[in-house]
Amino acid sequence: MVDIEHIPKELKLIDEKGVRLDGRRHDELRPIRIEAGVLRRADGSAYVEWGGNKVLAAVYGPREAHPRHLQDPARALVQCRYNMAPFSVSDRKRPGPDRRSVEISKVISEAFASVVFAEQFPRTSVDIFIEVLQADAGTRCAGLTAASVALADAGVPMRDLVTSCASGKIGGVVCLDLNKDEDNFGEADCPMAIVPRTGELVLLQMDGHLTYDEFQKAMELSIAATQRIYEMQRDALRRRYSLSIDEIMKESPAAPPRETELPEMSTQIVGEPELDFDALDEDREGGA
């Protein structure tokens, strides 16, 4: 069943001992790092590094849905935009939505629509933005994982976090979380997203072929992995809000800057080089 045409003869994706090109076993994930609340202007945000993937997610809302005719008087819309940066892949990616990213946006927004309590916010929309800064296979899973943390960070009510992980088949072996080479030269890739608490499947796609048994195996691997990723997501959210007082104090100024003495300043005639404009600006910013 191996599709030999696409595989360089000498390339073995997985050796006899069951070790993959990057040294992982069949059931191992790439290293994952999740940070919550990385953007200031968005209502919620998250950043995920997943092997070679770097993904940023931002969430706005619930906010007034535009255009107006899209508003649903019964519930909120959950809209998603998945976008890859031109520099995210080795050849420059032509910027803008394409067939692939429109599809991914659609399936991701539908995955989230099934967990968000949309009926609490009629006529609004919850907008999710996923920006892939660097791609290394499995960006939709990384994006989904990030977006789910960003949604929770934005305070959007939802039934559970959504966690996502892919598995696939390389060299005839069902493996977890394929990397770029494995994805390109392997036989199948099957991303899925689940609601960890209930085990519901909210996204399931497949590229390539798996037999029924292989598919069962792939699903088992992914579900076991999502439990681990779920813990990382929860940990990221907890870290975001559990900063100790000292850490928080580091960022907030202990006391306002010294007041510039306005009456004295005004007696200095315009053109005086000593006028301290910086101090003036500082004061104004402090008050804004």
Binding site: D43, G44, G61, P62, R63, E64, P73, A74, F117, Q120, F121, P122, R123, T124, A152, D153, A154, G155, V156, P157, M158, R159, D160, L161, V195, P196, R197, R234, L237, R238, Y241, S242, L243, S244, I245, D246, I248, M249, E251, S252, P253, A254, A255, P256, R258, E259, E261, L262, P263, D283, G286, G287, A288
Partner: protein
């Protein structure tokens, strides 16, 4: 600095927060007889009601809320008020303390003006209307507006207004806090700067214990530093 120590435990959407004998309150939902958090927040349990006090989120208007709004549009018989929520909020000409002739709305409130008002009604599809027919409602002249996360407004106000009265007493500012997360401050330049910083401090440390005390300390030290200077 005092008030060091534990930060309140945080629950995450999907986390089990209560058993069968409890009732699900705001920020939670029940499924199969168990209660789960639906929002990121701090767990609270009172009188058999489990709820999650959210740490983030948009302002969703409720009837009777005091709000600080900004006029964004004018019609012949109404104004449109931005109340920092996902829903547009009209203020009808009959809902203001002045007698307004049809088409004469711009003489009373203009785009960019700030008002203190109340949410008079919210229906099931979240159509909101705002009123200024209450004694404390007014057009806010001068001063400055500050925005905080609506989820943190209860901390800014404090128990029975303890926090906000502390800030008003020590800074001698006039302060109005809207449920929608907008805060209007007025006072001398130096005082408003300090009051604004105190509010930012409350917002940043909303989940800490002993917040009132550390805010008091902050304000006192701020005034010690500013001592000897005329407060503008």
């Amino acid at each position: 600095m005092e008030g060091k120590g534990p930060v309140r435990p945080i629950v995450i959407p999907g986390e089990a927060v209560g058993g069968p004998r409890l009732k699900p309150g705001p920020g939670t939902y029940s499924e199969g007889g168990r209660i789960f958090a639906s929002q990121l927040g701090i767990l609270s349990e009172r009188d058999g009601l489990v709820s999650v006090i959210p740490l983030a989120g948009r302002y969703i208007p409720q009837r009777g809320d005091a709000i600080v709004g900004e006029i964004v549009d004018i019609g012949p018989s109404h104004w449109l008020v931005d109340i920092n929520s996902p829903y547009p909020a009209p203020l009808h000409a009959t809902e203001v303390p002045w007698h307004v002739e049809f088409g004469d709305t711009a003489r009373f409130l203009n785009v960019g003006d700030a008002i203190l008002g109340h949410v008079s009604s919210v229906d099931e599809i979240k159509r909101v209307s705002v009123t200024m027919n209450s004694p404390e409602s007014r057009r806010l002249r001068g001063g400055q507006l500050l925005e905080v996360s609506p989820a943190k407004v209860p901390r800014v106000i404090g128990k029975e207004g303890s926090m906000i009265s502390l800030v008003t007493d020590l800074t001698h500012c006039r302060i109005y806090v809207g449920q929608n997360g907008r805060i209007w401050l007025d006072g001398t330049d130096g005082d408003t700067v300090i009051a604004a910083r105190a509010i930012r401090l409350i917002e940043e440390r909303a989940q800490a214990f002993g917040l009132t005390e550390s805010v008091r300390e902050f304000l006192e030290s701020a005034y010690r530093h500013a001592d000897g200077r005329p407060s503008a």
